[in-house]
């Protein structure tokens, strides 16, 4: 995983709530067996509208998505995170994220930042008024900064440490392999098995 420390970039204000994972990446894109090449599928249905915010020339090259509440609801498809990253987004700001989406994003180094809706509103107003306005998401200081906005955000220390260092979860877990083996040795015999012993 790529480490995330601090990022500054222009924004895409997405004034929609309940942006579900079927909107982020429609199901027919899920047939791919790689983690890349999903950029053209990102918000595919909405992008058919030339006026959709992502299509506006002034939003090209933007890397910070500022979305309405309940972003990423629906399916567990990690492809939604890959699509956002493949397109070029480094971070997503919303007042509330769906749990599975949030977990997936943090495992891939896409920083999802939870801010109060009134701060999201302020960021929407700023970046709609001035498409060149930049937003800084600083994971070291746990702070979002933009013109007229300085907002601290929460992220649990463990997730932050993994992101700052770009650590691979599996290697961390396997350092505790003895604990896993000890647990396995204690499991009752009535637990189900998919294969004959």
């Amino acid at each position: 995983m790529e480490a995330f420390t601090t990022h500054t970039g222009r924004a895409v204000p997405l004034r929609r709530s309940n942006v579900d994972t079927d909107q982020i990446i429609p199901a027919h894109w899920l047939k791919k067996v790689t983690r890349d090449g999903f950029e053209d599928g990102l918000f595919e249905a909405w992008r058919k509208d030339p006026e959709f915010v992502l299509n506006r020339p002034e939003r090209q090259g933007a890397t910070v998505l500022v979305a309405g509440p309940d972003f990423g609801t629906g399916s567990s498809r990690e492809h939604a995170v890959w699509a956002l990253q493949n397109y070029g987004f480094k971070t997503v700001i919303s007042s509330r994220f769906a749990d599975i989406f949030r977990g997936n994003s943090l495992k891939n180094g896409l920083l999802t930042v939870v801010l109060e809706q009134k701060i999201v509103d302020a960021l929407w107003e700023l970046t709609e008024r001035d498409p060149q306005a930049e937003i800084t998401v600083d994971l070291v200081a746990r702070e979002v900064r933009a013109e007229g906005v300085t907002a601290p955000f929460e992220l649990d220390e463990n997730s932050r440490w993994r992101l700052l260092n770009g650590l691979d979860d599996i290697s961390i877990t396997l350092q505790n392999e003895d604990d896993i083996a000890a647990y396995e040795a204690k499991r009752p015999s009535f637990k189900p098995r998919t294969l004959p012993v």
């Binding site: 309940n18 079927d22 791919k32 599975i100 599996i170 604990d179 396995e184 189900p192």
Partner: protein, 476 residues
């Protein structure tokens, strides 16, 4: 202080607990399918890792599989390649696979329970959000992303932050004609698509205790639509009876030991939930969605709501956008909404009891002219059972299409899709924009409402069917 059901199952699976870290949980059962696993197997290959516990891992094919001509090569080359990738991965790593055509193939959340692999007090994961289904057995079951699929394959564990718990108590009796689907749709409309966020929901109360395992699975299945991490129901005699004799259920002394353990899996009287919702079953009626998220629902007897009636600006905007997408007018009675397609199936309502309910209504009746009805069993076994009961004949005689098992039109990854502008009444779980096909419009309903809707051509409940008008006289 006592513990909740979720806390008991959680505590029994903690491999490692350390200050400032998520708990490391052991996973008892890992279900795989073709869509969310290929990148995980790739990751294992790249890092030279294997599957730690093949005996706790099982795969099937469901999302992409066609429901017609399953003996012929799959027409869509991309779907075919994804299924072939799963077959190769399972062969390379030694994972048990039930491919298309196998008698145990089907929607992953139908297959686990029917094999008896889903058991009380187990932890179950799958790269699919509807893994919450398995909570109906008192299992702690989570949908996970592909990185976590790889993590479980490699370690049989997952680092997870302990969730909060919410009790959803449903007391009283469900009125006649009101189903588990109506109940869960009403719960989601009440608490919202984010209402369960961060929680494991425990459904309890006298109305829940009376439900069959199938109905309990329908409820737990849609916990994710309320944003919850998982949904659970305490195991009881109904659970034990369902499991007894299934291929992977424990036997002999193991069965006795298992049941003794399972009986301890209930929330202690003095346990405290972090949140509580109480619902009176008697107040419920058939429920349908009108919008583009599962929380946008209303009783079938109601009308399409007026977005102006929402105080919250973002909900108002969401309702406006939903009505525009759905092609509905505020104030329009829901019963007046005409449909083109009816879909009965999915991990929500593709089990035998669901097919029996739909067939019971369609018997001696006809699907309305101009309406296409698809009946897709949740698994090959459910399909065989339905055939042995003659349900396939009932569906075909009514003019419905009887198909092979799979996820099918729930998400339209296979050819079963809505055309742009087409409207469905669907027993599935998501009414998102384009979910069932680009531009398609979805109303989520119970199997009973689906069948009545098929007969009348507009959203309807079985109570709307007058015998004289809709039954075909015997012998005709």
């Amino acid at each position: 202080m006592g513990r909740t059901l979720a806390e008991k199952v959680w505590d029994d699976h903690v491999v490692r607990r350390a200050e400032g870290e998520p708990d490391l949980l052991f996973i008892d059962l890992h279900l795989l399918h073709e869509v969310t696993s290929p990148q995980a197997f790739d990751g294992l290959r790249k890092s030279g890792r294997g599957v730690r516990r093949l005996d706790l891992t099982i795969a099937t094919e469901d999302h992409n599989t066609p429901t017609l001509d399953i003996d012929k090569p799959i027409a869509d080359p991309v779907s075919r390649a994804q299924l072939e990738t799963l077959r190769k991965n399972c062969a390379d790593f030694g994972v048990r696979l039930h491919p298309l055509g196998d008698v145990e193939q089907g929607v992953v959340h139908v297959v686990g329970p029917q094999l008896g692999l889903t058991q009380p007090g187990t932890t179950v994961v799958c790269g699919d959000s509807h893994t919450s289904t398995h909570g109906a057995f008192g299992a702690l079951a989570f949908g996970i992303g592909t990185s976590q699929v790889e993590h479980v394959l490699a370690t049989q564990t997952l680092p997870m932050a302990r969730p909060k718990t919410m009790a959803i108590t449903v007391d009283g009796e469900l009125p006649e004609g009101v189903t588990a689907k109506d109940l869960i749709l009403a719960i989601i409309a009440r608490i919202g698509t984010g209402g369960g966020q961060g929680y494991v929901l425990e459904y309890r109360g006298s109305a829940i205790e009376k439900l069959s395992m199938e109905a309990r699975m329908t409820i737990c299945n849609m916990s994710i639509e309320a944003g919850a991490r998982a949904g659970m129901i305490a195991p009881d005699e109904t659970t034990f009876e369902y499991l007894k004799g299934r291929p992977h259920a424990p036997e002999g002394a193991d069965w006795d030991a298992a049941v003794a353990y399972w009986k301890t899996l209930k929330t202690d009287d003095d346990a405290e939930f972090d949140a509580e919702v109480v619902i009176d079953a008697a107040e419920l009626s058939p429920f349908v969605t009108w919008g583009t998220n599962p929380g946008q629902g209303a009783p079938l007897s109601a009308s399409v709501p007026d977005p102006a009636s929402y105080e919250d600006a973002s909900e108002r905007l969401a309702a406006e956008k939903a009505l525009e997408y759905m092609g509905l007018e505020a104030g329009q009675p829901l019963r007046s909404v005409k449909v083109d397609t009816v879909f009965v199936g999915s991990c929500t309502n593709g089990r035998i009891e669901d097919l029996r309910a739909a067939a019971g209504i369609l018997k001696d009746r006809k699907v309305a002219d101009g309406v296409r009805m698809l009946v897709v069993p949740g698994s090959a076994r459910v399909g065989l059972q339905a055939v042995s009961e003659g349900l396939d004949v009932v569906f075909k005689e009514a003019g419905a299409e009887w198909r092979h098992a799979g996820c099918s039109m729930c998400l339209g990854m296979n050819p079963d899709q809505l055309a742009p502008g087409e409207r469905s009444a669907s027993t599935s779980n998501r009414n998102f924009e384009g979910r069932q096909g680009k531009g398609g419009r979805t109303h989520l309903v119970s199997p009973q409402v689906a069948a009545a809707t098929a007969v009348l051509g507009h959203l309807a409940s079985p109570a709307d069917l007058s015998d004289a008008a809709t039954r075909t006289p015997a012998g005709v």
